[in-house]
């Protein structure tokens, strides 16, 4: 190893460390601030360690209402997006080349549309029939692009599907519906579970789209963003810490499950 290489390597390690710091500093500092007695969330100066802000958060009725609103929205988004996204994936994969690329462009277009535009467009359309911002529009606006994610994940899974399994089932006398229920659906199950998880996350964390269609509803992200302007206390950090903990545990569990499934799949994949 030459001297220049050594310097280069040292620089790179320094860079990696900086990158890791950049990645985690905001999360760590935000979490830490929830234990500081200071009335404004910060870590400097440290005015003493306390759990008061967790108590304050726990007692905050508005926070619980916001959480409930988000949960209701996420539930209905999943209920709509999973069937629609699956249907879109199946329709897409049975189309022929030219129609397929057109349908594909249309189906991914919500991903390339800024979130605020999706919210605005939904708001404007529904105003025509006298429906204003609220739970219904939040669900519809979020679903309109979350369906894309479901569609993409199902398409990816479908690419590994051996269609002769469907023929085999048909040949054994199964109805089309039974083939779908017993052969295709179980195969898609991992992708559907993963996309349901992703849909919940996307729904919970969405802000840009929700902001325009929320009407008088206050989902969690709006609740937090409003707090930042109207009077931020470390109670919000306490909430943030809990949410981070939940998502991190969820993400780790998901990743572990995914790796295990990958292993199982490798064992279950039949050679052709």
């Amino acid at each position: 190893m030459s001297g220049a290489d050594r310097i280069f390597r040292a620089l790179f390690v320094f860079y990696l460390a900086g990158f890791a710091f950049y990645l985690f500093a905001p999360l760590v500092i935000m979490s830490a601030a929830s234990f500081n007695e200071s009335r404004f969330p910060t870590v400097i100066p440290w005015q003493g360690t306390t759990l008061d802000w967790f108590r304050a958060m726990w007692a905050d009725r508005a926070m619980w209402e916001a959480l409930w609103t988000s949960a209701v929205v996420a539930f209905f988004v999943v209920v709509i997006s999973i069937p629609a996204g699956t249907a879109a994936a199946l329709v897409l994969t049975t189309l022929h080349a030219r129609a397929r690329s057109f349908a594909y462009a249309l189906m991914v277009s919500p991903l390339l549309t800024p979130g605020v535009v999706i919210g605005i467009a939904t708001l404007i359309l529904w105003r025509q029939v006298g429906v204003g911002g609220g739970l219904l529009l939040i669900v519809i606006a979020q679903a309109s692009f979350i369906i894309c994610y479901v569609m993409l994940m199902v398409v990816a899974r479908l690419q590994r599907f051996d269609r002769t399994q469907e023929e085999a089932a048909l040949g054994l006398g199964a109805s089309r519906f039974m083939v779908f229920r017993r052969v295709l659906l179980p195969f898609l199950r991992p992708a559907l579970l993963a996309s349901a998880g992703l849909a919940v996350l996307q729904s919970f964390e969405n802000y840009n789209t929700t902001l325009f269609v929320r009407g008088f509803e206050t989902p969690l992200t709006v609740f937090i963003a409003t707090k930042v302007r109207t009077g931020l206390t470390p109670a919000v950090n306490a909430l943030a810490l809990i949410m981070i903990a939940v998502t991190v545990i969820g993400a780790v569990a998901y990743e572990l499950a995914r790796r295990r499934r990958l292993r199982d799949n490798r064992a279950a994949d039949l050679p052709h």
């Binding site: 990696l16 329709v91 605020v116 535009v117 469907e166 991190v248």
Partner: protein
Amino acid sequence: MRELFQRFGGWLASFFLILVAIWLVGMVLAPNLMTLDYALRPNLPPARIGGPEDSYSLANFAYLANEAVHRTIFFKTVWASALVTLTTFVVCYPIAFWMAQRATRAQLSIALMALIVPFFVNEVLRTLGWYIILAYRGPLNAVLLGLGIIERPVRWQGDLGVLAGMVYAYILFMLLPIYNAIESLEKAQIEAARDLGAPVWRIHWRVVIPHAKAGIATGCVFTFMLAAGSYVAPALLGSPGSRWFTEIIYNWFFEGGDWNRGAAYALVLLALCLLVVLVTLRIFRVNLADVAK
């Protein structure tokens, strides 16, 4: 279409088609067309809608073109989003290359986890983290003051804060596509180039980057689109001097009360994003199917 019916039978196939139609027509096409309709009409009190003044015109778009402040903010949003994209690329490329070509299996698995976990955390919360760090009396200023790098606290909120928060928010969108693209490059190609005596920058410029262009284009397209359409970071980390175009749109809807003008502004933003997407894809000769993975 016939294949769909053959494969799933009449009931299921019809059910699928109805779902897809509701989505694409009712939730994607119709809202955007209605927005276009709104953008082309003047803002009138309910009693006069449908009256003689309610005719199509480009007045709402013309307003944006002539309003100096809004026009400036629009162009600033464009170049600031480009700057965010460039910065994110510069920050991510070395990591992506390292992960794809140099890291051991264990390192890679840790790195992926470390990248994905913050991404799972709510964008509002991530931005809130920066809000606390960058506060006037916050830890960043305290550290820099303590090290003697600055003499007076810096007001980070504004352009710099927005940049830091946005780059942070979109790292994963840039990094993963580039990582995927570089990963498929054979190690032997790099070694061959090095064997031939090419310097490091030249290996990247002539071998790695051309190979990864689809991934780079994808990352850039997404980052630009997300940055231009961002609302959280400018709202939380910005200052009155760093207003973002999305904030102007918001004001038309909920403060200015002129939805028609707001619709026109939103469509300009949409057009900008689609233009950037299409031009980038054309320049890099990338297919749309490669983008959405």
